[in-house]
Amino acid sequence: MRLRTPLALLGAAVLVLAGPPLLSAGSDEDTGTRIPGLRLMVPNTPGGGYDITARTAAKDAKEAGLTHGIEVFNLPGAGGTVGLSRLVSEHGNGRLAMSMGLGVVGAARSNHAPKTLADTTPIARLTEEQDVVVVARNSPYRTIDELVGAWKEAPGKVPVGGGSSPGGPDHLAPMLMARAAGITPGSVNYIPFDGGGELLASILGNKVGFGVSGVGEYLDQIRAGELRVLAVTGPERVPDLADVPTLRESGYDVDFTNWRGLVAPPGLSDAERGKLIRFAEELHDSPEWRRSMERNGWDDAFLPGEEFGAFLKAEDRRVVSVLKELGL
């Protein structure tokens, strides 16, 4: 009798926590483009980039009436390769997709993972985001040329901070930049930070020479004038930062954009694969998704099915070439 209260509380807690996932996994009719019981795997922790992409997609798909609700779950580990192995092992499961991006391509290579993205079924590339080269307001470097000049003179004395481990997007961008500027990538002093928090502090405090990060992450600090952007890494200027040159305009032949998309397990039938691709297409065409992209500052980079597969291969080759040069 005396145990009733704590037990009831525990029971309530279990209901509250287990309820939503169980309910959202409820079955609905298998009609049209609907994929009942579709689950989205996020190969990194809650709050990360793939997580936000997946949760936003799930919510928008539901609101646009594409499905009855998609369960999003996290399986973090080793830069996404734990999730990748799990996805590949779900051979023939047409009700599972993984939210991923360039970081997973790099992690699969740098971790020498037994499974690569070539083992998955590509569904679609959804969004892309350029990287920015930023320094603190009171940094001695005013232009990208000043920075590269100092960098060339003593690569070790100009540490580069990035938010990803070796092989990830923030690591690849400065390596490509170094290569284009005639600096051996091996001599670049790259310092990895977990996530954006510590990195931002290190850039603001001038602990690192410069930082490389996704454009959306530091937009507010840039607008507030605390960070100065020296260049963007993509092929075109970013609308929000119209007066910032691209690396190519500045004379460094770099075309680098971070992207995110969806892949599915291998061994799907054509019908299952087509359904997932159609789902991605409808999501992409929905006004809800359009609004979400705008709100999050993502650029539309929709590329479905086979073409996405070819793009994945090209990105993989690029990652391998950089990593090989670094001896990783």
Binding site: V16, P46, G197, D220
Partner: protein
């Protein structure tokens, strides 16, 4: 005064019935989540994100803040009662809290923790209001050499919790450091001690280590001895804090925030290290040193207060710099972005209603949490009346759920069991468990910060001592190390003088 006006306006926002309701929902959920091992506040906020899309941002963030603080409150409950920390900040609470619970003082331990959280949260939030802009800018100046200096300080402090036998304590610390080595090397991406298993690449979560060493180790130990001894249920004593308890705890309650708050605000701080530091500080300052390890109430009050204050510190960096210093802050930051709000230097000007409403709701949430947890303390404590075989079966069950919930990987259960066996072995040979857990937390942090500092200085060793902050910390460490020697020296000099005086007197 401007901040005070804004805060009053914030109370206007936070005290509307609807927002009080959301705060209540948040703290209830948070407490429940904190009580369940494994599901931390970060996971909870992430799970609830889609649910809150329909709410306006103010209500959503009031709820998130409630969850965050609620989980901090709830995390210590299982730590104290079941020796099963629900999240890493609550690990230290088990050290003194669980022996108290076993001695029939579970309700007092829970009350000390709850009031500790309340004081810590209150003082922390007041500091947040008063110091937010200043602290935020100082936080940016803290770099890798400074962190490493703090880690060295923490390592030195750890030696005071090594227990009666130094060699056993150091062995335990080494076990922890070794477990901490498992995983990808952050700087180069090399795998260490993973035996090729990708699941081990991110290392072993400290919650799994703590639950394995504390709960599983203990359950195995009890199981191994239960046959020989009759299984008495654990006594449940008086439900309330006595006057003696309050006299011993009020100082730790008030000291905790000043350790916890700064750690929350700096980017690589978090809540674990300040709880350790508070524990060793209280141990040093305690007048009842003989009780430590057997249930000293100061060892619950101080660390819990520090944990709550660090949560307030976390909000400082998140709101003013857009700088997430913990996983929860990272998820909340993502949530802000979902609403099209970018936390950062402009947030206070752009969204005053949201920010001050959120801060005011922290005070409201704290009062709600105290009102919820204090009466519950004796009720929770009665859980221990369950006969031991069932109680430990329940502990094993929740420990397993917790370990599985951390990563959703079956291999975590195997790791949990292996670490449980290590914990059993450590008990068998009298090795204290706390240094191992501290090793798991401090080891990887210290290594990473040291290597980062050296990398930034391009390999020059002076890179470790080139900031005033780091030099100050090393000076403090030098003083701490020299203090016993100096005291002895001073004592010896005084003794000799007295002797010589006596001799002089004899001569005369």
């Amino acid at each position: 005064m401007n901040a005070l006006d804004s805060l009053l306006n914030g109370f206007g926002t936070a005290l509307t019935p609807v927002n009080v309701l959301w705060a209540a929902v948040g703290v209830l959920l948070g407490t429940a989540i904190g009580v369940l091992p494994g599901i931390g506040p970060a996971m909870a906020v992430a799970l609830l994100l889609p649910v809150t899309y329909g709410l306006d941002p103010v209500a959503a963030f009031i709820m998130f803040a409630g969850i965050y603080y609620g989980a901090m409150f709830g995390g210590s409950t299982t730590s104290i009662l079941l020796n099963t920390p629900g999240e890493s900040a609550a690990v230290v609470a088990a050290m003194e809290g669980h022996p108290m619970a076993k001695a029939g003082r579970g309700a007092q331990a829970l009350a000390a923790a709850a009031i500790g959280h309340f004081t810590g949260g209150m003082v922390g939030t007041i500091l947040l209001v008063a110091l937010a802009p200043t602290v935020a800018h100082l936080a940016v100046d803290i770099g890798a050499p400074d962190y490493f200096a703090i880690m060295v300080l923490a390592f030195i402090a750890v030696t005071s919790v090594l227990g009666s036998s130094r060699i056993r304590g150091l062995a335990s610390l080494l076990i922890g450091l070794t477990i901490g080595l498992v995983g990808l090397d952050q700087m180069t991406g090399q795998q260490r001690l993973t035996f090729g298993a990708l699941q081990l690449a991110d290392g072993v979560d400290v919650v799994i280590v703590a639950v394995g060493l504390f709960a599983i180790g203990e359950a195995l130990w009890v199981a191994a001895h239960l046959r020989r001894r009759p299984a008495d249920p654990i006594p449940v004593g008086r439900p309330w804090l006595g006057r003696g308890d309050v006299r011993r705890t009020w100082k730790p309650w008030l000291r905790g925030p000043f350790i916890g708050f700064p750690f929350g605000a700096i980017p690589a701080g978090g809540a674990e290290i300040p709880t350790f530091l508070s524990y060793v500080t209280e141990k040093r300052l305690s007048r009842h040193k003989d009780e430590w390890g057997k249930g000293a109430i100061e060892g619950v009050a101080g660390p819990e207060s520090a944990a709550s204050a660090s949560a307030a510190g976390t909000l400082v960096s998140m709101l003013t710099l857009g700088l997430p210093t913990t996983a929860v802050a990272a998820v909340m930051l993502a949530a802000f972005q979902q609403y099209g709000i970018q936390p950062g230097p402009l947030l206070f000007d752009r969204e005053p209603e949201l920010v001050w409403g959120l801060i005011a709701s922290l005070f409201v949430g704290m009062v709600l949490l105290l009102a919820l947890n204090l009466p519950l303390a004796p009720v929770w404590a009665k859980l221990l009346r369950i006969p031991r075989p069932y109680l430990y079966a329940g502990i094993m069950f929740f420990a397993a759920i917790g370990a599985y919930a951390v990563g959703g990987e079956p291999i975590d259960l195997v790791i949990l069991l292996v670490i449980g066996l290590i914990g059993f072995g450590m008990r068998r040979y009298g090795l204290p468990v706390l240094p191992a857990v501290i090793g798991v937390v401090l080891g990887p942090n210290a290594e990473q910060q040291m290597r980062r500092a050296l990398q930034i200085s391009d390999g020059a060793v002076t890179g470790l001592v080139n900031t005033p902050f780091a030099v100050t910390v090393y000076a403090v460490i030098a003083l701490m190390l020299a203090a016993p020697g100096l005291r002895r020296l001073a004592g010896a000099v005084r003794g000799r003088r007295r002797e010589s005086r006596r001799e002089g007197g004899a001569d005369a």
